[in-house]
């Protein structure tokens, strides 16, 4: 019953200056199967796919597609030879329409020069009908929600009629129903005899959709097994290379008095309609909800990034305004933002600068000239505090002068947590603290969060990963359609209860 392979990548290696990104990796994909590719961030999954797709040029090894040895020099060549890819980062021309994006690089023309809008819109409709996508082909991309844009991206990859389709973390911005929709599409492609390569961190998804699983670690091939023989624990063990006794550290935090009280908070320009809650000293309060339910908005309205329409915030019984982030920081708040790369790190600046940036006035040399504080920063103090942060957060970095973008996601996140701890906050707002972080590093972040609660800080944590909320939090608020839909005790609730609440006002 063994079918000949559709795609064989043999002994692929790829070196970047100073790093061996791929070391003798092999991957075999059979027609009509879904092959999952797993590994921690930095394991080399995306690099391997980029070598296949012609974005990177492999240093060694061989790629055999349908019995022929190929070596694509550009994405165009890959697409023409039946290899398509749904990219991890949404690469779209946002100012253009859906159909302009769908046919970019291969516009149907009349006489080779003039683009035929008629044929284009006709074909778009055909593709969308087949995939049951309900999007107006003339809509401008920037006006659509991210999940719909992702569906367009998926439709685009499918529309190439490719033999091999690579999905690189396709579900990160999709809602549950859209994930089901995607799986229907993948099943359809599988029935057609396509070979699917599916990259994801979500193990439930992998075990459900895939036929075979290949696991990579540190740029090397670790194992390829039929999905039916694998369990979640087994996958984690193979990915991490050591036994993770549990996914979450033991909880030890004690709760004290109420420190924060929020009543009827709503956003002026954002979709937050109503939220009222309390936070105790030493408590970890989770916020759950679907994408777009107003989870992030709760934190950002509280921190003064977004403009509030109404409601009151009381800190220790005293009403505060928190109109701007400066005010919020003064009041002892800290916000770890959702998009680390876009709004968290200063990528090309070094660890030290990234560490002290929220707290610069504390490093002014206390020398008074004519009654004014000096405006010189003390390098010594900044270095000392950065050293403390590197040690306390267990940041793995060659030095303080390393560009933060060269660290792994987990280490970047730790630098930012260290940055906020230096402002001596009382309340930490964490938005997706483990997004895009390896399994191993996630554990360390959880431990850090629990330690902070132990020190008496109040923590509010937004996450789209339910097991994480259940494993780390004390109480969980569930948002739905911009409103608070309910509150559950993390120790007694279940994923089902939270999901029911999350769908309350949808």
């Amino acid at each position: 019953m063994e079918q000949p392979a559709l795609l064989e990548m043999r002994h692929i290696s790829k070196e970047f200056p100073g790093v061996k990104a791929l070391d003798d990796v092999s991957l075999t994909v059979r027609p009509g199967t879904v092959h999952a590719l797993m590994g921690e961030n930095g394991a080399g999954k995306s690099t391997l796919m980029k070598c296949l797709f012609g974005i990177y040029h492999k240093d060694g090894g061989e790629i055999v597609l349908d019995g022929k040895t190929v070596d694509f020099r550009s994405s165009k060549e890959a697409l023409e030879n039946g290899v398509a890819m749904v990219h991890q980062e949404l690469n779209q021309a946002l100012t253009r329409s859906v159909q302009d994006n769908l046919w970019l690089g291969r516009y149907p023309t009349v006489g080779g020069l003039m683009v035929s809008e008629k044929i284009m819109s006709q074909r778009t409709k055909e593709v969308f009908r087949e995939l049951e996508v309900t999007v107006d082909p003339k809509t401008i991309m920037s006006t659509m929600p991210v999940s719909q844009r992702q569906m367009v991206e998926i439709a685009k990859a499918v529309s190439y009629d490719s033999k091999i389709i690579v999905f690189d973390e396709p579900t990160s911005s999709l809602t549950e129903t859209e994930v089901e929709h995607l799986f229907r599409i993948i099943n359809m492609l599988r029935d057609r005899g396509c070979g699917i390569i599916y990259i994801s961190h979500k193990m439930e998804e992998i075990l459900r959709i895939s036929d075979e699983v290949t696991i990579m670690r540190d740029g090397q091939w670790v194992a390829t097994r039929p999905a039916a023989e694998l369990t979640m624990d087994e996958i984690i063990r193979l990915m991490v290379g050591r036994e993770l006794t549990s996914r979450f550290p033991p909880k030890s935090n004690q709760q004290g008095d109420v420190i924060l009280e929020v009543q009827h908070m709503s956003g002026r320009y954002t979709r937050l309609k109503e939220a009222s809650f309390q936070l105790r000293k030493g408590e970890i309060l989770g916020i759950a909800g679907l994408d777009g339910s107003g989870r992030t908005e709760v934190l950002e309205n509280l921190f003064g990034v977004m403009t509030r329409e109404g409601g009151t915030i009381k800190l220790h019984g005293r009403e505060i305004a928190n109109r701007t982030p400066q005010e919020a920081i003064k009041n002892g708040f800290a916000l770890l933002t959702e998009e680390r790369r876009a709004t968290g790190i200063f990528g090309i600046r070094n660890i030290r600068e990234n560490t002290v940036i929220a707290n610069l006035k504390n490093y002014l040399i206390s020398m008074r000239v004519g009654g004014l504080k000096s405006f010189c920063l003390s390098d010594k103090k900044m270095k000392a505090d950065t050293d403390w942060s590197i040690k306390a957060m267990h940041i793995k970095t060659p030095s303080q002068n390393t560009q933060i973008r060269s660290l792994s996601g987990g280490n970047q996140q730790k630098v930012i947590i260290g940055r906020w701890l230096l402002t001596k906050p009382e309340i930490l707002l964490l938005d997706e603290p483990t997004r895009g972080i390896d399994v191993g590093a996630k554990y360390e972040i959880y431990q850090l969060i629990i330690d902070l609660a132990n020190e008496g800080k109040g923590i509010i944590m937004v996450s789209s990963e339910m097991p994480e909320l259940l494993g780390v939090c004390d109480r969980i608020l569930v948002m739905s359609g911009g409103q608070l839909a309910g509150e559950v005790n993390a120790a007694e609730t279940s994923q089902e209860e939270i999901l029911t609440l999350a769908a309350k006002y949808v």
Partner: protein, 349 residues
Amino acid sequence: MSKESKELAAQTWDAKRVLSLVINNALIIIMTIAAIVIAVVNNNFVSASSIVNIISQTAAYLPAALGIAGCIVLTGTDLSAGRAVGLTACISASLLQTVGASSKMWPNIGTLPIPVVILVAMGIGAVIGAFNGFFVGKFKLHPFIVTLGTQLILYTILLLYVNMGNNGGMAISNLDESYNSFVKGSILPKIGGQTIPNYVIFAILLTAIIWFIWNKTTFGKNMFALGSNEEAARVSGVNVLATTILVFSLAGAMYGFTGFIEGSRIGSNTANTGLNYELDAIAACVIGGVSFVGGIGKISGIIIGVLMLRLIFIGLTMAGINQNLQYLIKGGIILFACALDMRKYLVKK
């Protein structure tokens, strides 16, 4: 579109909507008011001669703006436009001087056919553009830097050129009658006793061609996609380098044509011909909504932008406003237009 307008009609006319309508069209409203005020102050402003003057000047500046707009759509710019216009103007003029004139730069060349000179001018412009585009696309340099360098190089070439042949650094004038009548003559009927020069027709033709290229061809769509998201274009199989070179090259060809027109329109060409043309062209694009954010721009906007700038200059002069103040008003309008434009991309939080 029809669905959209129906939705609009369904909305009530509340104060908020009126305000946003006013803000979104603020520039046109202000221009209209200004035009009315100027017309009241000086009745000649609405005379046939003044209107024809505004149209002619708009036509003269339009092609360069259309070219530069492509560079702006790619999130770039082009500072070499002015010098490219200057060089091609001097070359066009030197190739079309009256045979027998004592100062003729190249006495051995007879009267060249006009189309050949147009092709030479546009060809030189296109090569300059391709040079810019190559550095931008191949070495990923910002167009600001590349064209800052190019315009200096072009200036030297221009200075050397006007010293060649019999010219000796003089202004290149004594142009052939065929050249002047081709550019400044008129095949159109007179309007109110005013002749509409031929270069208005050329501008209209070029505008139509550029509109077609932008909206109807693969190249045009690739250009907008590239300006909107370069990586998306690349992974979709668009040849980024070729598209970039072509955009700059097309812009260069437009400067070349502008140079050909200016050679005759100005009549006396020196190394300073074309100076600062790029700034007017960029200003016109910005006023017309070609955004530096990239991937956004319309031909109609560029026409409005060029027209408005000319309206300001001619109108203010006619209203008797001190020449020195004109730059202040122009600067103010650019800032105002850009601030209005950015409003569309700001997301309130």
